[in-house]
Amino acid sequence: MNRFSKLGQYGIFLAFALICLVLAFSTPKFFTLSNLLIIGNQVSINALLAFGVTFVIITGGIDLSLGSMVAVAGVVAATFAHPDTYPLIVPLLVGLGAGSAIGAFNGLVTTKSKVPPFIVTLGTMTIGRGLALIFSKGRPISNLSDEFNFIGGGNIAGIPFPIIILILAFAVCSVVLNKTVLGRYIYAVGGNEPAALASGIRVSRVKMWVYTICGLLSGLGGILLTSRITTGQPNAGAGFELDAIAAAIIGGTSTSGGTGTMTGTLIGALLIGVISNSLDLLNVTSYYQQVVMGVIIIGAVVLDGIGKKD
């Protein structure tokens, strides 16, 4: 797409490979299959949200309501996931639907009101959290069916199911971004919105799509999380939006819009996962982990900026 963003992505890929190499030598447990599967499993939810927010950031927008959409989708899905009530498809559809609906709301308000998406989604973040608490009456929703709990906790041929979902979602998102007209329009809107409009692109419609897709993927993330912890938690997902945005940015998506790739975002999410995993293995307490993660986010963008200089 853009030779500089390719370069930036290349840089992040190298950094990722280098960190993995160092970890492989310093902690023997790191490069075992079981540990890698643990990382993949841990990364999956954040990666799904990061894919969603990558679409939004490429159009020049932002979505801060990811974590709240995770919670709403989680409690809504859990309500319909008790054993011997509804078939599995019902909690899945209502969960995805809840996420998509909030996403579509974000898109609608952003395009109709001209209020910056930062503000709109900041509002939705609070609204969503409130809705999750109202819907669950503030209590965790447990006693979920085994089929539902398989989504976040099951294995197929030894591979955790969330990893399979992650791979499928990555493939679909990459194809949408690179091979479809919508993907082309997403880059165009973020690259130069007035020119995209004058080129005949229905900019509002493109924005509606990206926020809705972002909501859909957040809903999927909410279902995964609820299934994994076998409980619909109204307080779940708080702060998830920041990790997802961090993954996209570490992966080379520019916050000013117009550039970014799904591969970059995937690597960004993996990098975050690998680092927190290895800090666990190295027995670094979680307090320090947060500091390290912040330094890495800034460092990645600084390095990316250096790579982008002509």
Binding site: A188, G191, A195, A196, A198, R202
Partner: protein
Amino acid sequence: MSDYILRIKEVSKSFSGIKALDNIHFDLKKGEVHALMGENGAGKSTFMKILIGLVAPDSGEILLEGESLIGSNVNETLKKGISMIHQEILIIPELTVAQNIFLGRERAVSGKRGMLSGWLNDKEINQRGAVLLDKMGVNIAPNAKMKHLSVAQMQMVEIAKAISNNAKVIIMDEPTSAISDKEVATLFKIIHDLKAQGVSIIYISHKMDEIFRISDTITVLRDGKYVGTKSATELDQNALIAMMVGREIDRMFPETTQPVGQEVLSVQNLGRAGKFSNISFNVKAGEIVGLAGLMGAGRTEIARAIFGLDQWDEGEIMIKKIPLRARTPREAIDRGIGYVSEDRKGLGFIPQMSVKDNITLSSINYHRKGGFIDTHSEQSVTDKMIADLKIKTAGAGQQVTYLSGGNQQKVVIGRVLLASPELIILDEPTRGVDVGAKFEIYKLIRGLADQGMAIIMISSELPEILGLSDRILVLSKGKQTAMLSKAEATQELIMRYAVEG
């Protein structure tokens, strides 16, 4: 010769093996306006970057009043008296006029020493700014916020800043590209005053008539080489173009023999509150209708209304006898209208995207195969358009940002053409485009009309309007004052109608 303030000898510069500048000479007298001419890519901007210390030359000598400038950085050349007014004005919109003028020199202006020098003294800054602007004879309040100023006023502030820096040499890069004729007159008056005070001006512009109005001496570069320096009185427009392109362009404007066809666009009593009113005209297939008028006459606003970028309040627009009310550009494009904006960077293309992605952006919907983009058909129409329009690019995958102005314009025209329009509105199609590419764009426009397209061309360059249009609609302050045929139109007549009312 002591009357030369600036002497530049044998300056050369290569970028990764390619000679950008080869042995350039340039002598600037005290108090003269010296035009630097050349097509885009001739090396003018590299040359100016070297002069202001942004780029170091590989060899050569630059002497300002006998003192070498080689090795000086931008701040040092500025202190020594070389100021540049950039084409894209560099200001801080939220600061006031005076704060912008003295930006970076607040300590010097505050007149305090030591600790106290860190305190801002807006009163002093405003007073000094007022004196400066008064001297220039421009009416701008020093405490006005920069963002409320017009482009021309911002330019005046930049010049004030240069004067306050005690500039001996002021470089003006395309200073009139975004200002009205009246503002040009003010600018030229200031340039005359500066000359009288012994300040020398290096003047870069593509506008021939301006060059002959304002400059004393003209130096021409071509392909990074020095072509020659002549007194402005020795040259005429054709001789100057010949120096720039290395050949005579005998006929700038292609003629046509094609008859016009059916009416494509009809506009009746179109009006938009505060912008334009009672506009009625039509355009037929194969016809070029020029829209002439001063800045602010409402030409671009009419184009935007037809294209669905703005709404309108009264009247009617018909495309092939069927009413059109486009609420978005998409609807206008679907009805066969194409628009090439005057604001190429703002409305023309997506800078981060490739030539291919830009060229197919308006028509990519027609290159789909089962929900996905059909990359083969996309590539083949792109390659054909690049060849047809003679777009100079390293390839279809090249980012548009890296193309010259003329080639960027061709990419925009290519995008519009791929959506198969029947009516094309071209708004200042040759702005910021060099002479050679201008000629190609003229040929292209005439060629499109000959293929049966209806064309509206908006231009502030009268020779262009006169040379290409079959009919000319003249506007003044949002009202239509004349519709002239090619035979009766002259520069004087157009100007008379353009200032009427």
